[in-house]
Amino acid sequence: MFVARSIAADHKDLIHDVSYDFHGRRMATCSSDQSIKVWDKGGNGEWTCTASWKTHSGSVWRVTWAHPEFGQVLASCSFDRTAIVWEEIVGESNDKQRGQSHWIKRTTLVDSRTSVTDVKFAPKHMGLMLTTCSADGVVRIYEAPDVMNLSQWSLQHEISSKLSCSCISWNPSSSRAHAPMIAVGSDDSNVTYGGKVQIYEYNEVTRKYAKAETLMTVADAVHDIAFAPNLGRSFHVLAIATKDVRIFKLVPLQKDSSSSAPTKFEVQVLAQFDSHNSQVWRVSWNITSTLLASSGDDGCVRLWKANYMDNWKCTGILKGDGSQVSGQPGALSGVLGSATAQSALNGLIEYKHLTGPGRKKKKLEILPLQSNYGWRSYFEVVTLKHFLYF
């Protein structure tokens, strides 16, 4: 069975982002209450808050972890026009006993003149590099030349994307065949500039980032964007959260390596899903790029999977608003096929508030779509577990 627990996050205002660290043992939450909280997962699977501190003078939009090779490092960005890099320092022994840790501010990046809407670390093979994007459309790429000194960052590149930016995603591929590539999504309401997703590529000859592609077919506001893990493929896969979920395939066309022009791509649409029937808020890939999850204003998280024929389908829905989906089809039948049907088992999961007055029981449902047959089993749960796996 699935168990859903709710953690009372104790933020005093809306949570805008939640981010797991690389190993999935820690997480950071950020909020409009201007603070960040860091949580650690104990051996028993319970999450405890090990740090909570005020970070910005405005809502904190995003928080992200650096690769653990660089230590325990967080970056956050905010409405207050700054992005900040934090490092955890090993505290005094009595702090450790109380299970608290300290995070100190290493640097504040103040170059932006408007709200900084996203902050992401570049893939680790590029070194310790941080990228921000702002509401005025500027994308900035910073580098810490000495990875042991997190207070020194230099602005390496400034890209003016001309559209208000909402999200960025780095292509995680470390293959030498692929130049560093970053996708920028825009939630600009300006309709003159059609394409709301731009892809920039680093050119070895010019030593600059240049625009390689604009996805003209994405004309509506983009809320989230995510490159899929590359898996050694020659092409790239990009998921976009806009008024629907879209998955693009970008096939690089042959290019002369001494050319100063960016790579040209052949753009194909692998899938487009409007099942959320509302704005799609987040998209995220699992580590092997076999599963894409999306969340939308319909209050659902949907899981998308491609079969061995590369056909994409929805394989699960998580409903978060507590309402039960009526008319659950099918019934669990006995093993021997034609025996009398047993009562249906819906994927109803109960979870309890960890804190809060009373013991409210809310229902978080998991509905695997292809269960017209109504089969439920431990193994099905195991598979859903697979779906939720990296």
Binding site: M1, E69, L336
Partner: protein
């Protein structure tokens, strides 16, 4: 309402980020509940892993025909593992206390049901695809299959036979008929004999039935009789049964009448035994037994479809299990795998079965041009699922190893995410990466461990991890910390490590210096003064000593200079270094300088005297 989320290993974080906040914001953590039956199922995963690995090792060059028996035996191994797991689960289900949560208990019995279904399907696939029995043997195998999965007959038979007067037992005739339906004639005769002994007057009728049952021909695949010969014999027998029916031989006993009708293959009568048959596929096999025992594999599907329709009737739609079995009878392998994937949502089953079928070269022959992709796809899915389990992930590694296209990259991506809770776990993970020359993962893991150690001020650990990562820059950094510590505290930590660096010392200049410097201290401690002095000198000459430490080195040299063995040459050299240092850094503490100058001069004097008095 906006709903945000984030992937985690084994769970998903979901948070509501409304336009307007209502109450305290929540983060939902959704994950599987591991408690249900998992230790037992874990055994299934572990043991099937062994079988899987063994299967992969079977050599390709042996011709398929000879391998068939090997594959059948492997298939039987898998099935016995499933059965063992099932039995254990059943025992466990019985053990639950009344306090055990309802869903948990339900979970165990559900698992048992699912495993039963899996074994049923697997067994049929083994009969039809792997063993690929030809006509004659086919029916025998199908009979075995049905018998294995309708085991309540044995229990009931035992109950009847062990009762005081079996013939009066209420299940008596049910047992006899059930045995007949399963083609177990000898056992049916045995039970019937209990009846016969009671009623002497009708004994001839029972004798007649006994003869019919005894003379029913059963095909012997290992015998000399051909299928045609068997068929002829069977028809004779069939006619004999029919004659008995027409002659009303058994009219006096309605049960015997029913039995002879079954023997004749009267479908309506067989169908009337619905309750005893309980499944349409039992009906199918029984029907074939008494109407068409020489059935050929390609003809199977017609009978299967009609049996299912007849048994289920118009109102009951077929269940997923029924569909799967039907696809198997139709020899539509692809459909079987597809339907199993969907209906069971069980990667363990389809992955292992498809892998076995692929080894039997069955996926290709069934015209699945994406045959090998399908197998790899399913195995990758299964293995990925194992990966986030805290101990089962090690099994997954072997599965990835046998996925030629994507196995390596999947492994690379997933193995670096394993939380490195302890050094022991890290080393385990490392060994796996090193064995597969995953050098980037090795480097990354070592770097993470080194960084973590450094953060917690465990310099020795940090150093050994950076050496293992071959990270020269980091090694330099840590060496400098060691030296700093030495300057502050006057002694080294982690002497064991420093003393046994060996060739790893050469990773970085600073590290080499650190190692040699420690060696110098050791030599001094062992009173090997001239060696120590020589080493110190070479350190300064080789210019790998950091400038900042030169004064310290010279200060270290001070006591040495008091020792008699230090030669003139050495002292001169030291003196020249001293001059260099003094020139570079005018601020050097004057007392120190004076001491050093005095010591150098004294030593020089001594050396001159000593050397002067030695015979040349």
């Amino acid at each position: 309402m906006h709903l945000g989320f984030e992937w985690g290993p084994g769970d998903l974080l979901v948070y509501e980020t409304n336009y307007k906040l209502q109450g305290s914001p929540l983060v939902h953590v959704v994950r599987k509940d591991e408690d249900i039956c998992s230790p037992i199922l874990r055994k299934l995963f572990n043991e099937s892993h062994l079988i899987f690995v063994g299967l992969q090792k079977i050599k390709e060059d042996v011709p398929s025909k000879n391998k068939k028996s090997q594959f059948v035996s492997i298939s039987k191994n898998y099935r016995s593992v499933i059965r063992a797991c099932m039995e254990e689960l059943q025992q466990n289900a019985g053990k639950h206390s009344p306090d055990t949560h309802r869903t948990r208990r339900g979970g165990c019995s559900r698992s048992v049901s699912i495993l039963l279904a899996i074994e049923l399907i697997w067994n049929l696939c083994e009969v039809l695809f792997i063993d690929a029995a030809p006509a004659g043997s086919l029916l025998l195998h199908l009979l075995d299959w049905v018998r294995l999965h309708k085991s309540d007959v044995d229990a009931r038979a035992r109950e009847v036979l062990q009762s005081e007067s079996p013939a009066q037992h209420q299940s008596y005739w049910d047992v006899v008929i059930s045995l007949v339906l399963q083609g177990r004639m000898d056992e049916a005769r045995q039970v019937l004999s209990k009846q016969a002994s009671l009623r002497a007057e009708s004994s001839s009728v029972f004798k007649r039935m006994d003869v019919l049952l005894q003379t029913m021909p059963i095909f012997n695949p290992t015998g000399t009789q051909t299928l045609t010969e068997f068929d002829v014999k069977w028809r004779h027998w069939h006619e004999e049964c029919d004659r008995c029916l027409q002659d009303n031989t058994f009219a006096s006993n309605r049960h015997l009448e029913t039995i002879v009708k079954i023997l004749v293959g009267d479908e309506d009568t067989i169908l009337e035994q619905k309750e005893l048959l309980s499944t349409w596929y039992h009906f199918l096999v029984t029907r074939l037994l008494f109407t068409h025992p020489t059935i050929k594999p390609p003809d199977l599907h017609y009978y299967a479809q009609s049996s299912m329709n007849m048994f289920l009737g118009p109102r009951a739609p077929p269940e997923p299990l029924d569909i799967i079995l039907l696809s198997a009878f139709e020899f539509d392998l692809h459909q079987v795998i597809k339907d199993c994937s969907i209906a069971l949502n069980n990667w363990w089953f389809v992955a292992h079965l498809t892998d076995l079928l692929d080894h039997c070269k069955l996926l290709q022959s069934h015209n699945l041009h994406f045959g090998s992709n399908l197998r790899e796809f399913l195995v990758l899915e299964y293995a990925s699922g194992l990966f986030t389990h805290h101990s089962l992930w090690q099994l997954a590694v072997d599965y990835f190893d046998h996925c030629p296209e994507f196995g390596r990259v999947y492994l690379e991506l997933q193995i670096e995410r394993i939380p490195l809770d302890t050094e022991r776990k890290a080393i385990k993970v490392l060994r796996i990466c090193e064995d597969r020359q995953m050098s980037e993962q090795v480097r990354s893991i070592c770097k993470i461990m080194a960084k973590r150690a450094l953060r917690n001020n465990r310099l020795g650990s940090a150093l050994s991890w950076s050496i293992r990562a071959k990270d020269a820059a980091f090694a330099t950094l840590i060496s400098e910390r060691f030296l700093q510590d030495y300057c502050n505290k006057g002694s080294f930590t982690d002497l064991d490590l420093l003393d046994n660096l060996g060739p790893a010392m050469l990773l970085s200049d600073r590290l080499t210096f650190l190692g040699k410097y420690r060696e110098f201290h050791r030599l001094y401690g062992e009173n090997r003064f001239s060696e120590a002095a020589k080493l110190l000198l070479s350190l300064m000459t080789a210019k790998i000593a950091p400038r900042g430490l030169w004064m310290t080195l010279l200060t270290d040299a001070l006591p040495l200079l008091e020792q008699k063995e230090v030669k003139t040459r050495t002292t001169h050299a030291l003196h020249s270094h001293f001059t260099v240092v003094k020139k570079l850094d005018e601020d050097i503490e004057s007392t120190k300088t004076e001491l050093l100058r005095l010591a150098l001069a004294r030593n020089l004097a001594m050396a001159i005297v000593k050397e002067g008095t030695i015979e040349t």
